[in-house]
């Protein structure tokens, strides 16, 4: 029976939501082709996660554990995954569009002669029984339908937040696989610095508040953070704010920054350039605060207030707090 594999993504000891989103994508495909939905973990230690995976649709769980995978080395990860793919020949492999997956799946594609498409917003099986995905192309200005040729496996990553996890019940059959990994003399991790974040990571955030040139300086971003914290949102920025040195580059949303798709995106003092929209246009609800009634963002939003952000933002934070 053919299989669809979903890559497990873990942060410390918890399975990240993006894994369940991937399982949801796989369940959608299963409706068309009846394949078995399997989770696959590649890393140094899976821990006791099979119950969680079963709950979100995994019928089988492949575990590939090896101490050599404790540091992330794209080449070793690719070897591990490619070996088990060659052994079990899944039809389709789905992963979240995380930086780690982006960093090693192209090697897996090359090694297993597979097609790979990154950052899909939808998945389907077409009339030729091949995987077909939708993704943004030309900086968010178009949506392309991309068909896989009939060569297996077919590998795709899904955009974070694009699929809603489907909760059910089930407990997967666990299959442990061992792989031999040669020492890699050519690549060494010297230091890993995880910088603790005060707010949700933009690519995963359910809500985002971003400030632009209208903020006028770095200190003023405090009112963006206040609104963000009142609704548990991440904080972003336009390139104009980043280029002015007011906030770090990792906050930049847009074509050359992060691509985000939260349920709520609040753009404050941002005009709504094509390049900014390219990074947040797939947000579910867009709210704009701008003093210029002709700002392009007002043609691309669901809600907005035309007014001075220095009056509106504190008032809005207050009003939201009042709602409780």
């Amino acid at each position: 029976m053919s299989e669809i594999w979903v890559l497990v993504d873990k942060a410390q000891d918890v399975v990240r939501n993006v894994t369940y989103e991937g399982l949801a994508a796989a369940l959608k495909l299963k409706e068309k082709n009846g394949a078995t939905v399997c989770a696959i973990y590649v890393g140094d230690n899976a821990g006791a996660i099979e119950a969680d995976l079963g709950k979100y649709g995994a019928e089988k769980f492949y575990k590939v554990e090896n101490p050599a995978l404790s540091d992330f080395n794209p080449s070793l990860y690719a070897t591990a995954l490619s070996e088990v793919i060659k052994k079990h020949n899944p039809d389709i492999v789905i992963g979240g569009n995380t930086l780690k997956n982006q960093d090693y799946l192209p090697r897996v594609a090359s090694r297993t002669s597979a097609g790979l498409s990154l950052d899909s917003i939808d998945v389907d099986i077409n009339s030729s029984s091949a995987l077909e995905i939708k993704k943004y192309k030309y900086s968010g200005k178009s949506i392309a339908t991309i068909a896989f040729h009939d060569v297996k496996p077919m590998i795709a990553t899904v955009r974070l937040n694009a699929f809603k996890p489907i909760e059910g019940s089930g407990s997967p059959e666990v299959i442990a696989e061992s792989v031999e990994l040669p020492a890699d003399e050519n690549y060494k991790v010297v230091e890993t610095k995880i910088i603790p974040k005060e707010r949700p990571e933009l690519t995963e955030a359910d809500k985002i508040v971003s400030g632009g040139r209208g903020m006028a300086n770095g200190e003023n971003f405090q009112i963006v953070y206040d609104l963000a914290d009142s609704i548990g949102a991440g904080a972003g920025a336009s390139r104009a704010a980043v280029d002015s040195g007011w906030v770090p580059y990792e906050m930049q949303v847009g074509q050359t920054g992060k691509v985000v798709s939260p349920n709520l995106y609040v753009a404050v003092g941002i005009s709504g350039s094509v390049q900014h929209y390219a990074g947040m246009g797939s947000s579910k609800v867009i709210v704009a605060i701008n003093k210029d009634p002709d700002a392009p963002i007002f043609q691309k939003c669901d809600y907005g207030i035309c007014g001075d952000l220095f009056d509106i933002l504190p008032a809005l934070t207050d009003e939201i707090k009042k709602l409780g």
């Binding site: 200005k141 949506i143 339908t145 060569v151 060494k188 580059y249 390049q275 669901d302």
Partner: protein, 271 residues
């Protein structure tokens, strides 16, 4: 030391995108083409290393005739010579096929110590060609570099990379491939003399014959659509349909804010 930068031409980010008559690509008549903005950082990084160490910098691109403009721009920024892989049979290659072709050509060129690439092509946003190239050649890669320190004596490079939630420092042995993050440097503008000089810099043109040879080991089946694993079926230009409920908060900021909070709670059910 020898450095190679792979670059690609792309439609200007301001360009209006319209579907072509087949519906699977875009109308290219009125498009202004530019060097992929991310590749400017890659070229700049290579040229800065050249200025410090006297390295040689080769620029390579795969693309239609017009791609030569992107190549020349990179040469004007300081590249020494170019390789232009062009031919109809190279059109419409997916990243899998591109990785094989570029990787094979680089192997044939030989003695390359470092390869730089952009973090993604803004057009497709696939960010996978460079890694497929590294795999094809069999060398390590570090992506999203925010800092690159080359040690020519020990033939190693130390790269600080952006990772989820922080950064990681990696040490790679030559030859290695690096994709660079925006902001790693400030790409220079090509000067007028630079542009004039670039026109005279040597540029190898490679057609299908040039790449067919045993020397490179790429056969016809590895090229174009035949060698690809995915293809674009159709392109739609989404129309923006949003509700555009804009309140006037110029006189009554508090009232407008209260109204908006209420809409977000009751109508959008989002907070």
């Amino acid at each position: 030391m020898k450095i190679l930068v792979i670059v690609r031409q792309t439609p200007d980010t301001e360009a209006k995108i319209q579907a072509n008559s087949d519906g699977n690509g875009i109308k290219t008549d009125d498009i202004k083409w530019i060097l992929n903005p991310f590749d400017e950082y890659a070229v700049e990084e290579a040229v800065q290393i050249k200025e410090k160490t006297g390295a040689e910098v080769v620029i390579l691109t795969v693309g239609a005739d017009r791609s030569v403009d992107a190549l020349r721009q990179a040469l004007a920024m300081g590249g020494d010579s170019g390789v232009h892989i062009k031919d109809e049979s190279f059109a419409d290659m997916d990243p899998y096929a591109l990785g094989k072709v570029i990787g094979s050509k680089i192997k044939a060129l030989g003695d390359i110590d470092l390869i730089f690439a952009g973090k993604k092509w803004i057009d497709e946003e696939s960010s996978q060609v460079p890694i497929q190239v590294a795999e094809e050649i069999g060398i390590p890669q570090a992506t999203l570099a925010s800092k690159v320190e080359v040690d020519d004596a020990s033939k190693t490079v130390k790269v600080t990379s952006v990772i989820e939630g922080g950064e990681e420092v990696r040490e790679l042995k030559f030859p290695a491939l690096i994709t660079v993050e925006q902001g790693i440097n400030e790409p220079r503008y090509a000067s007028l003399p630079g542009i004039m000089k670039a026109k005279k810099k040597p540029c190898e043109e490679v057609g299908p014959d040039g790449i067919n040879g045993d020397e490179i080991g790429i056969s016809g089946e590895a090229l174009g659509a035949a060698g690809s694993r995915i293809s674009v079926n159709s392109i739609e230009i989404p129309t923006i349909s949003r509700s555009l409920k804009v309140l006037d908060g110029r006189a009554e900021a508090v009232q407008a804010s209260a109204d908006l909070a209420k809409l977000l709670r009751e109508e959008a059910k989002i907070i």
